[in-house]
């Protein structure tokens, strides 16, 4: 069996009294995609930082391509490329200058570095804004440059921390197709995300995290089986009508209520079938409705299904820097 790209055992990290990562096990086979899925503060970024040798675990071990992340940090850095959550580019250099600098730092000579930059500018559609200062390009463009900066050499493991957070759908698709392409070229990808859909689209394996723990893991189909599929949301105009909707639908479906949003949610494994049934029932009961919609399950639904309680969103401190709190 080939060596896994990442192997972690009981990996833990504590900041003072806060357990940011609590005994996480990971096994990422080479040339596959692993997604860490969870809300802010779940510990995803801390795992990424430990694997990228930016901070050391409090306990437990991990190796990247067979190299220990603490004892053989240099070898690990050789094997990985990190694209952090906050675009780590020099804002006062152009996109092209940033790429050339990264290629030079990776050891290319001047000419080769320019060619590498040129190639990536071409492949990731950067040409249009390659001569603009990074501080003056859009978030989506910056992500592309950031990704390109991680690809000046072929990494064995590409680590992407929330690669599409805050991107418009088109930019998101572009990042997704780049990731798929990289996997076919033999790169292993570890990505973190808050979007169930993203994990579902890209990952071979998903670890769902909350409060530093893995609350579930498996392939997307396995998780989907646990989470359930699509849902139909019914939003009523009058809060009092929520109970009437429950009365009309309660005998046929397992409902979830959100009274604050005047919403009743119905599982819809057969998508349009349930949508039609719900609409019919509401019509018969003559309940005025603001909105009926069919949607994919969200991270919140997943947490509800997997843990029986909603995800707790903690505000994660910007942990790209550094100082120890006094």
């Amino acid at each position: 069996m080939p060596e896994p790209a990442v192997l972690a055992e009981a990996l833990s990290k504590q900041f003072g009294d806060v357990v940011a990562v609590d005994a996480i096990d990971l096994n990422i086979p080479a040339a596959s995609v692993m997604a860490l899925l969870g809300p802010n503060g779940a510990g995803k970024t801390t795992i990424v930082r430990m694997l990228a040798t930016l901070c050391e675990p409090t306990s437990g071990t991990a190796s990247v391509c067979g190299f220990d992340i603490v004892r053989e940090a240099d070898a690990v850095r050789n094997a990985i490329s990190l694209t952090g959550q906050f675009a780590a580019l020099e804002a006062n250099l152009t996109a092209q200058e940033n790429l050339i600098l990264m290629a030079r730092l990776r050891g290319y000579r001047r000419r080769a570095a320019a060619q590498v930059a040129e190639h990536l500018i071409d492949q990731l559609d950067i040409a249009e804004f390659k001569d603009k200062l990074v501080k003056s390009i859009s978030g989506g463009q910056r992500r592309r440059v950031d990704l390109a900066a991680s690809l000046v050499v072929k990494p064995k493991l590409l680590v992407l921390d929330e690669p599409t957070t805050g991107l418009d759908p088109r930019s998101r698709q572009a990042v997704w197709s780049a990731i798929r392409e990289l996997v076919t070229e033999g790169v292993t990808v570890l990505l973190t995300t808050q979007y169930l859909e993203e994990a579902d689209e890209l990952a071979d394996q998903v670890v769902v995290m909350d409060h530093g723990r893995a609350v579930a893991s498996g392939t997307p189909p396995e998780l989907r089986a646990q989470i359930g599929d699509h849902r139909v949301d019914v939003v009523v105009a009058d809060p009092a009508d929520v109970d009437r909707v429950v009365e009309a639908l309660g005998s046929r479906f397992l409902l979830t209520l959100d009274r604050a949003r005047r919403t009743v949610s119905v599982p819809a494994p057969n998508e349009a079938v349930e949508l039609a049934l719900v609409a019919q029932e509401l019509k018969q009961a003559v309940i005025p409705v603001d909105e009926i919609s069919l949607r994919r399950p969200t991270l919140d639904d997943a947490f509800l299904a997997l843990t029986g309680e909603p995800s707790t969103t903690v505000v994660e401190a910007r942990d790209d820097f550094a100082g120890v709190p006094s």
Binding site: A52, A91, R109, K154, A322
Partner: protein
């Protein structure tokens, strides 16, 4: 030469040279690349240089032509009194420049990226210091240029000139390390700016750069006598104009004192900064 890669990844564009060179050569190469990187950004944000360009001009002209008319220093023209003093206290302003640049880099995530690269980590911090030193040296040259144009006449031998340059570089180096250390500890560049000014401004005014310490009231005089910057100011004046100051041991032996303060700063800040840099971690 055309590239032969077909995929997304650049392949067939020659191999990185990294593996073929020794550790020291790599360190020097990486430091150089990172210094060039920070110098390249200078023309894009020229205002960032204002502390080493506009400030020296303003200080020199303000004190020579506005306050200078009311200040009389026995035995010296005010130009000859002021300019060496400005150079002496000016080295300390490197704290602000180096600190702000460091905290900006550390909060932007760009340092994280460098730290995750297979490059010598020492090169990242060396480049920070070297880049800032070059900026500070520019500031010193502006002090000297404006001073000379305004009538400053230093009287030193070639050996004195060498001593002058050596001490200025040492002082700039020492205060830059203090700035890098503080920059890593402070979480925002605005805070760094504030702390830097709060630290450097009073000390530079008490250091006798603008008015003689001996004429100050008792409390500021006592502080001024032992203000480390006073040693820098007195040392510069001693080398450039041959003057001797009184009031405390360090003022009577300014060159030894300036060397001592610089060595202490370097001895404390360099190991602390390196340690801090190695274990910079996130804190949730």
């Amino acid at each position: 030469m055309s590239t032969v890669s077909i995929g997304l990844l650049p392949t067939g564009i020659g191999e990185p040279v990294q593996a073929t060179v020794g550790r020291t050569a790599r360190y020097l190469r990486e430091t150089w690349l990172l210094v060039v990187r920070s110098l390249r950004t200078v023309p894009r944000v020229p205002e960032r240089l204002s502390d080493v360009t506009i400030q020296p001009v303003v200080f020199t002209l303000l004190f020579l032509y506005v306050f200078g008319s009311a200040i009389h220093v026995p035995g010296l023209s005010y130009q000859n009194y002021l300019v060496p003093g400005l150079v002496g206290q000016g080295v300390a302003f490197g704290v602000i420049g180096a600190g702000v640049a460091t905290s900006t880099d550390f909060t932007s995530g760009v340092i994280d990226r460098f730290r995750s690269l297979p490059i010598t980590r020492l090169s990242v911090i060396t480049a920070q210091v070297v880049g800032q030193m070059l900026e500070q040296i520019l500031g010193m040259m502006i002090y000297i240029g404006v001073g000379l144009a305004a009538g400053w006449r230093p009287q030193f031998s070639t050996a004195g000139l060498a001593e002058f340059i050596g001490l200025v570089l040492l002082g700039v180096f020492a205060f830059n390390w203090l700035g890098v250390l503080l920059g890593m500890m402070v979480r925002s560049s605005d805070a760094m700016q504030g702390i830097g000014f709060a630290l450097v401004f009073p000390l530079s005014f008490l250091a006798g750069a603008f008015v003689p310490i001996s004429g100050m009231k008792a409390v500021p005089r006592a502080i001024g006598n032992w203000d480390p910057l006073s040693a820098f100011v007195a040392a510069m004046r001693h080398i450039c104009q041959g003057t001797n100051a009184q009031g405390s041991w360090q003022l009577e032996h300014p060159i030894v004192a300036m060397l001592g303060w610089s060595v202490i700063l370097i001895g404390v800040c360099v190991p602390l900064a390196l340690r801090r840099f190695r274990r910079v971690e996130s804190a949730i």
